[in-house]
């Protein structure tokens, strides 16, 4: 009698659900899992497409020649004509590789100290009431689209900073590859400067995040031992936050390497290698954006631009993977942006535009 009370129909307990009512659960579970797996498929597809499209370039030119030869020459190219090495066009992407590395390096040298100082000011020194508004203002830099940075950099910054750049170039003329020469306006340096502004909000946000995790005890201990504010920052805050700040700087580097439109305009667009950082050049991302139109009808030319894209993809992948390690370690197993305390960074990642 008792068995009748607790089972229905096919001997199933009343506490169990019918197969039909369990169906949506299964659908949801495996449907969602399939969609999540799609992300991995997508990333694999990226790599396949890029490798596939760039094989032509690599097999004709050779990986070494493509990466390290300083001879990107396409001006002889006739519309729609077959483009082979020795036929009026050669593709050594070294000037662009250097352009990307140099501009990103300049961006880090200028941007990271300012970003970290901003983070220190906002977390340790600034009056509490000014903190929120100031943080919002710094974050707003990330909301400006990169094409607007390009417009501003090219139309406003390039002519206005020409004199300043010339002064710098003259002052630094004793250092080879850095100073000297005639400044044109757009240059590696200017591109680095614009990139520094663009990576500032993300580096600053992550630094802020990490500095906020420094235990109060450490700071109080330093102050109790008689340290001044700055000594407290130098001895208690910075050493603790260093891995996280490094990770933030690496994420900034990833942004700078992949940035396209702004750089394309302020670097000058010259595919020959400049003699100093105050001369015009080109970056990997920039050459794709500016030359894709004319390359479209020439298979080998187009393939070289895909090869540039592949190098860019691998570079940013590598930089980001390293950055994640640092940031995760700094967050003590918690991703920055992955915890209740960190929505700000995620918001910022959403705002910052790398191209």
């Amino acid at each position: 009698v008792e068995a009748h009370a607790t089972t229905v129909g096919g001997g199933r307990s009343v506490l169990e659900r019918s197969p039909l009512s369990r169906l949506p659960d299964q659908v949801l579970r495996f449907g969602l899992a399939a969609i999540a797996a799609g992300v991995l498929v997508l990333l694999a597809a990226f790599l396949v497409v890029l490798v596939n499209e760039s094989t032509d370039a690599f097999s004709h030119i050779g990986v070494f020649n493509f990466l390290f030869r300083n001879n990107w020459e396409t001006s002889q190219l006739q519309e729609g004509a077959a483009c082979a090495t020795g036929n009026g066009c050669t593709f050594g992407a070294w000037p662009m590789l250097v352009g990307t590395l140099v501009t990103s390096g300049i961006a880090l040298v200028i941007g990271v100290p300012i970003a970290v100082a901003t983070a220190l000011f906002l977390t340790e020194l600034c009056p509490r009431r000014a903190r929120g508004p100031l943080a919002v203002l710094v974050d707003l830099l990330a909301a400006v689209p990169s094409v607007v940075y390009g417009l501003w950099g090219f139309i406003v910054l390039a002519p206005h900073l020409r004199g300043f750049q010339q002064t710098l170039a003259d002052a630094l003329s004793f250092i080879p590859f850095i100073g000297g020469g005639q400044v044109a306006g757009p240059s590696y340096f200017l591109a680095g400067l614009v990139l520094a502004i663009m990576i500032l909000p993300i580096v600053s946000a992550i630094s802020r995040e990490v500095i906020a995790t420094v235990p109060v005890e450490n700071k109080e201990a330093a102050l109790a031992l008689g340290a001044t504010r700055w000594e407290m920052i130098r001895m208690a805050v910075l050493p603790y936050a260093r891995p996280g700040i490094t990770g933030g700087a690496m994420l900034g580097l990833g942004r700078a390497v992949g940035e396209t439109i702004a750089v394309a305009y302020v670097i000058g667009g010259s595919t020959t290698l400049g003699h100093s950082i105050f001369e015009q050049g080109q970056s990997l991302a920039g050459v794709i954006a500016l030359q894709f139109g004319e390359a479209e009808s020439t298979p080998l030319y187009k393939s070289t631009l895909f090869a540039a894209g592949l190098i860019l993809f691998v570079m940013t992948l590598f930089v980001n993977l390293v950055a994640r390690r640092y940031v995760v370690r700094a967050g003590r197993g918690r991703r920055v942006g992955g915890g209740a305390a960190a929505p700000g960074v995620t918001e910022l990642e959403a705002e910052a535009s790398p191209a």
């Binding site: 100082a117 901003t118 400006v144 607007v148 501003w152 700055w230 894209g309 991703r335 929505p343």
Partner: protein, 299 residues
């Protein structure tokens, strides 16, 4: 009470100088923002003439300036109507694709995958995807869809797909943060009352986290709206406004990009006007997102 030793003058001076430098660096960080906003308003507002928002860009009466030759007669280059419409349509379609997709992946991560190895791999690669240069998304869609001539050459919906690829990982990350904030006691209470998982998700978790999800989505939209590189090779270069996403389209960022490429006063002027329009749209999205985040039930 023993007296504490005085801090030496040198140490006090260092402290003052360093604190001053840190404050100065913060001030320097804000200079570009002020300058950009100033120039956008100064040059953008003067470009907002009467027909600016109601006419399409027009190139037919304009001749390029040949160096050495007398400058060509002034021509009416038109406004940015098609660019605004194009951006709205393309970003709209990208949103319809990316936001549900991103939220679904985030739901799987928080409700099913949790800390399993596979979930961690997915999380890792979502993180990696947020760092992929946006021009690579453009190249990817160009190869898959434009070269293969599926449904025309470079048309609006292909650009929307490229933007959706870029926005999805952003939505996943922000949604996951928000979904993790839903108290597990709420989930447990619903499950203890006998609700099946899918009802817990649709009736408890999603409604609770709704405002946070909207905030994340709006920020992703703001990010997508400002992107140029994924659209360069994927939407074609139309100047005529169209409501059909199956046609070549125009967009604000690509309009600014090509106007800047012309580099004559008239075109640069229009670029400023378009830039102000774009930044205004993005700022409004940001402000709405922040306002919703502040009112959120969570956090």
């Amino acid at each position: 009470v023993t007296e504490l030793p005085k801090i030496s003058a040198r140490r006090r001076r260092t402290d003052k100088i360093m604190r001053g430098l840190v404050a100065l660096a913060t001030a320097i960080a804000l200079v570009p923002l002020v300058l950009i906003i100033y120039y956008l308003l100064h040059k953008g507002l003067s470009a907002w003439s009467s027909g600016f928002f109601t006419t399409d860009p027009n190139l037919s009466q304009c001749f390029p300036h040949i160096p050495g030759a007398p400058p060509p007669p002034p021509c009416n280059i038109g406004g940015i109507k098609s660019a605004i419409l194009g951006t709205l349509e393309i970003v709209g379609l990208a949103t319809v694709i990316a936001v549900p997709l991103g939220i679904l992946v985030a739901l799987w991560l928080t409700e099913y995958g949790k800390q399993s190895p596979f979930a961690n791999i997915v999380r890792y690669f979502v993180d990696v995807m947020t760092g992929v240069p946006s021009i690579v998304f453009g190249l990817f869609i160009y190869t898959l869809l434009v070269v293969s001539h599926i449904g025309g050459d470079a048309v609006g919906w292909k650009g929307a797909l490229a933007l959706a690829l870029l926005m999805t990982p952003i939505v996943v990350r922000s949604s996951e943060v928000v979904l993790l904030l839903v108290p597990s006691s709420l989930r447990e209470a619903a499950l203890a009352l006998g609700a099946p998982r899918w009802r817990v998700v649709t009736r408890v978790i999603l409604p609770t986290s709704l405002s946070g999800l909207i905030t994340g989505a709006l920020l992703a939209i703001a990010r997508g709206a400002g992107e140029t590189a994924p659209l360069l090779f994927t939407i074609g270069a139309a100047h005529v406004a169209t409501a059909d996403l199956g046609q070549p389209m125009n967009s604000l960022p690509t309009q600014i990009f090509s106007d800047l490429g012309q580099n004559t006063d008239q075109f640069v002027n229009r670029a400023w006007g378009a830039a102000l329009t774009l930044v205004a749209m993005i700022l409004i999205l940001n402000l709405i997102a922040r306002a919703i985040a502040r009112r959120s039930r969570l956090a």
